[in-house]
Symmetry: D3
Subunit: 326 residues, 6 copies
């Protein structure tokens, strides 16, 4: 349905294009010569685009608003080094015209394939109780659908559809690779923690139209939501070894590693310590990857320090780009 994407703009400079967009922002402004015009930001999964609509804005104003999907026609041009579009027509799009998947960023990996790899690892568990437990989640159609779709965050790392699954799968792979060096840790237990630790995010986050926190997410948080889900799921799996239950619960509660990050308990078992350290590392590395990509998207060489990264309280350096420039 949608055949022009915002990232295609360079190939359409000065051309007239017609496509569907999400309206990120819409303001009515006064022309100094009298009358009004519309200043918009349009969006799709590939980025955002400034737009101006100078004439015949009455119908558009009456029907379109922030958060809507629209069908629009206009001319692409470059202004101060960035592309923009001057709209000639714009109308509300019918639900049947748009595929929401076109308007939100999504993982670059194949969801089915990631899902299959995850299930295959669980199938290999030697601990039958843990296998039963994890599959009770993965086989639950409602949970599975959400797990495959959810982003891993509202912003920061893995903030795209499928991001949760992508984050978990990478983490699981690193856990599997690292566990052999630490015989104190049980690999099945560690991987169980890796798969379930963030499962509360499927209720903490909403990703229908845009990424946001649910009210339950704000008042309860994904750590305690996950613990509640675990408690309810375990009622259906009885008998289940109580000590194993305590250890899984402990990994979920402690995975943020510090009180000030919202974990009510510090990690105290080998698996919990490994999980919180590797989870933190994987999130940081993905966050770094996104920062490097953003520098390139902003037209920089990547060989210098990035902008200040607020969540990490420092700038970063793409060491490969820096070395290659020399």
């Amino acid at each position: 349905m949608k055949d022009f994407f915002i990232s295609d703009a360079p190939r359409f400079d000065n051309d007239l294009v017609t496509s569907y967009f999400a309206v990120s922002s819409l303001q009515v402004r006064e022309k100094k010569s009298g009358g009004q015009f519309l200043a918009l930001v349009l969006a799709d999964k590939t980025g955002t685009l400034e737009a101006r609509m100078w004439d015949e804005i009455a119908d558009a104003m009456a029907t379109c608003a922030e958060g809507c999907y629209v069908k629009a026609q206009g001319q692409i041009s470059k202004y101060q080094g960035k592309f923009q579009i001057t709209l000639q027509k714009m109308r509300l799009a019918a639900a049947s015209e748009v595929d929401p998947a076109d308007f939100q960023p999504a993982t670059k990996f194949d969801v089915d394939q990631m899902w299959a790899e995850l299930r295959s690892i669980v199938s290999g568990f030697r601990n039958e109780d843990l296998k039963r437990l994890v599959f009770a989640f993965l086989d639950d159609p409602e949970i599975a659908a959400a797990y495959r779709a959810a982003p891993a965050a509202k912003s920061l790392h893995h903030a795209w559809l499928g991001g949760l699954l992508e984050h978990v799968l990478t983490l699981v792979r690193v856990c599997v690779a690292t566990a052999p060096f630490y015989p104190e840790a049980d690999s099945d237990l560690l991987v169980t923690g890796a798969i379930l630790h963030d499962i509360g995010k499927i209720r903490e986050l909403a990703w229908k139209s845009s990424f946001s926190y649910t009210l339950e997410g704000q008042l309860i948080g994904h750590i305690s939501i996950a613990q509640g889900m675990l408690r309810e799921k375990l009622l259906t799996l009885q008998p289940f070894p109580d000590r194993l239950r305590v250890l899984v619960e402990h990994m979920i509660l402690s995975h943020h590693g510090k009180y000030e990050f919202g974990s009510p308990k510090l990690p105290m078992t080998p698996e919990a310590i490994l999980l919180s350290a590797l989870d933190d590392l994987e999130a940081k590395m993905q966050h770094m990857r996104s920062e490097f990509a953003r520098e390139l998207a902003n037209g920089k060489s990547g060989a210098g320090m990035t902008e200040w990264v607020r969540s990490m309280e420092r700038p970063l350096l793409n060491s490969q780009a820096y070395l290659n420039e020399e």
Copy 2:
């Protein structure tokens, strides 16, 4: 069964007494003149007493150990301003001979009366859902028995049998008195939070022989234990308004008021903010009360600063005693 209590020692100076004690500590030491003697600390619910056993210790050594109950006979005397006992006989006590209630500190209030007052307040709820919810806990025989017996802490405030109920009841009374000044807060909801916020302590703490943390208490903590208990109890009360569930859960999770005190969420509703503030205040005031009592027990006038109170990072002053001394 037990008719001499440690706090009775002043009335028995130089007398021979026979009674049952818990053995808090037991060490075999060498006499310099050759041979061995026993150095013990005996305890009951009224305090502790140093003991020495100089002769015929073989049987006692073979059967008694720390944590046991013993029957002992000896002479009370005063040494460097403190009472002690020189034992002539000591043997292991049979379970049938002792009432554990004699050996642990307990609330000075009537448990049945406190329990009745608590139930009566809940009976007055206008919110039927909350009434159903709280009674689901109070009517659960296993929970009720533990709730009436548990201490509120391992040490610090209300560290005695019935301490949890005593703490909760005082808190409930203060909530009821304070709520009218804050119309944003629903009194029933606030009192529900006051009654349920610490209910996880009945699994976090063990108080059979001495007060200690359970392993589940250490790995999960009473906040998350309570949340799990709530989740499971709610499954039996369906239908239950989901928003009410979220608000109750939020009060439990946030009642420590700060991340660094183990709350995974900060209080964000009027009831949660009131609950965490009044709970903290009530614990501090009780802790202060215990410190003042300890000063008096140590023979001080109470009109000066107390010892340094580590948990509050300051010494305290009993202002009434200070004023009265003038």
Copy 3:
């Protein structure tokens, strides 16, 4: 004198109105068609209003400035969902034309009535020394006038005329209701602390034209100002029990509860601990109330999370609105 208030705008849409306003901000801007216009923000005690003056601005520019009162005539209209006014005339207002009370937010309660309630509580003191002390402040005409008028803060909680008295009275009521549960605390002493703890604010804050800190307020602070006032007042009340003096002084110095909030001492007496806890709670609850009101004023339902509240480092939820929406 002033008969149109900014909160009346909805009833005057598209009408021509004439009234007095305080000028919150005034900027000269260039029209792109040449020439200049004025962009203003006008204010009175009910809110603020954007204004534009396109023509004949020379006289207005020459005489009016930020912080002045003006008489202005113009047409109310709605623009992007908010009301504004297009001015045709504006001139400086004479002092005799305006009542400053029309331009600053004020308590919604009756000051005389609050004052009488406060005095009545003090009259009931059984401790004659404390009664003498508190009335020495309340009977001091200069102090009384300021105490009845002062806001409790520059912004945040109770930032309106009479706010200090309103805050103190609520706090006193809560102290009176709570004291019975804590026999360690002397109610008269506690209430004395509640009445005097913030009295330094009458010199820390200025509220003539707008709310601001005095230079003495910034360099000395209301805690130490209050302590100085107490020292000077006590010289006129000799003999006065010195231990009582120390306890009152301690409550004032410690009422912020933590060093990092500017208290040079931590609360160490029952009264000081109660005062700092209840003062903090009452300020937070009032702050929460203002946030909820602001959400409604911004046209929200109030059933969702508020904006991020910076001073509390969290968003809030109006639980009643949330429940009622269901």
Copy 4:
């Protein structure tokens, strides 16, 4: 009266000595061979000495206690590298027999000379108001007597009689030497702050028998005591420029430099910033000097790291000793 001092012990090894001592600690212990003996720590201004009294202890036990002065006779000997004394006689000393000055550490400098230097510097002030103000304190007989005698701390830096004056004088000298490099600061104002900043210590500390905090010191603290003293003294000096009053008060309140050190305000003027920095430096350097002396007194070469210094959270190194050893 007292002609043997504890620091003389090396010269009296194995000799019988008779002298007066303060009793720092006294314990009755059991001989294993039956009977009791006394284990004491004796003290005078030059140090402390372990003592044992094996026989005829009944009279001594009945009359002597911790905190008393005693006359004692015994034999000096060396035990595990440290000197001790084996007592043969000990009796309570009459007040007329002892000079308390023999039993407390005192400044090594001449108090009259330090006092004269301080007054001479004030005499040189060009600002007559500040001169009046400072002399109002120095000429007050009660204040002067205490100022000349007080220690600067209970322990840590300058914890000896005259220590306050010694600390202040060194600080004043450094202020005078440093001020020329910072023309923003008024030297008279800075020196006024240096002389008055710690004057509250004469009421915060007690140094009659041993060094301790007064109750007022604990509840109010020397910063606020000083501010109160200033307020009362100023009432006797009217008229006094109000702005000068604010600046002096600000220096006193802010001189600890940080909220967490008990200053209710941060230093905001050139003089306050200089004062708090130089005061902190002078205290640290004196503390370091005491640590170096203690290492030597403990028989170390001084060329290695000192013990961990808790108040500074680090060990220290005497760089001169370290270099000289090479």
Copy 5:
């Protein structure tokens, strides 16, 4: 070459001027009447100036960019209380036309004279090893050139050419004046630390066109850069006493005084403690001086509190101006 400086604007109101400027910012904006205009900020060492170029902008747009030097002609005028310039001509300036020294702020002191004073102090060292060491740096032509030119910071204190030397020289003077009061510290060693502590800044900062951090500065930091320079320089000075080397290295590493300010070690020697305290004080006092100057430059009387100073987390008060206003 450059004969009009931005600070001269008041003398040229409404005049046509021609001069060289650095282009701080350049934006192309749309006229609402159609077409484009340039909005610029021009700069030289005396300040910055808003500029507008309405016509014939094509050549200027094609050749000039942010960071360039330009030759420009235009008319000075005053707009909303600030001067601006309306440009008629603007072209790129050739390198031969401009002296970069005209475009960056520089110390107000004579660099040669400061340099001579510094060398003279080192010549007076009694410690020949330290004299050799310091001159090895000061006599190194590359280091000397950079040391004389470098700013002491990117922004904050001494952020101007020659600022490093100015900061060091003031610090050295204060060290020389203070050392006599602290006999534990060796003056030569202290002054060596003062001269070398910030020498890494000549590689941490770049000041060619504007002040910025080098990549090495960001990844390594001036503390560790200085330590590396010291290590390499010492290889050329063998034999050099190893203990002296350790003490100098320690002063460099610890001079920020706290871990959180990037010092890998806390100061532990008398010289290191003095250096870090006096360095911090000198930087704060200079920063304060700049804030006071900025208030005056902004047209304020200087007698009130300054704006909030973020790096010091407080506003400041120019006490002299405050007193003089009275």
Copy 6:
């Protein structure tokens, strides 16, 4: 030479044994029956043993001291559940009689084998500059000898001979296993950081007789010592790519991950972030392993919480032992 080790005690209960020991502590105590005896703690690499010597102690006292090696004969017995030895003879051991390796804990792995594995990994580097750099260290005989022998810490993790190499090798293995999942990181660069990051410990720690910090270690620290070693080594390897030098230096400086742990810079490159996270994890896991071993050595089942682990501010749980107990 030494054929009885302390860990052999259970097999020699009540036997007479003769062996060499290090004297950890030696105290002369008084027998109450008159005369003196020796109370000692003896040590070898397998643990420590309490000892008593009752008779004929004169010679032993005259020649043996803490820190010496002794030859001793005595009888093993069990006292209060722990083994001890009652000595009959003890004399100083000649240097030729003892192998220091018998008296310090050492790695359980083969040093030659670990060393070979490390070199083999470096041989596989594709980056020739990094290979040259690392071998410059590993081929330096003085460095290699120390690197193979050094412990990784004074106490806490890997506090045994060969502990540094053991820690580094495990870390290198984990880096090699993890790097493939993070293509932003260069594996050779990461491994270089892993091998060099702690190399300063060979000068920070001394391990001749016991494990301690050198004075240089305390004043400079292993991070900055390593950086100095790198600087000096690089002078011998010129030309060396400067950017590679900066990246290696950055990994060393930042590997503690936080300012408060003594890193002057935060990790900002992919390799530095990975290194600091995996180094911290490996140290924690090894520390946990030691705690678990200590619990077992103390005779516990290992299925409960360990003692409080101060460096981690929590107790730990051996999850495998806990599960297996069920």
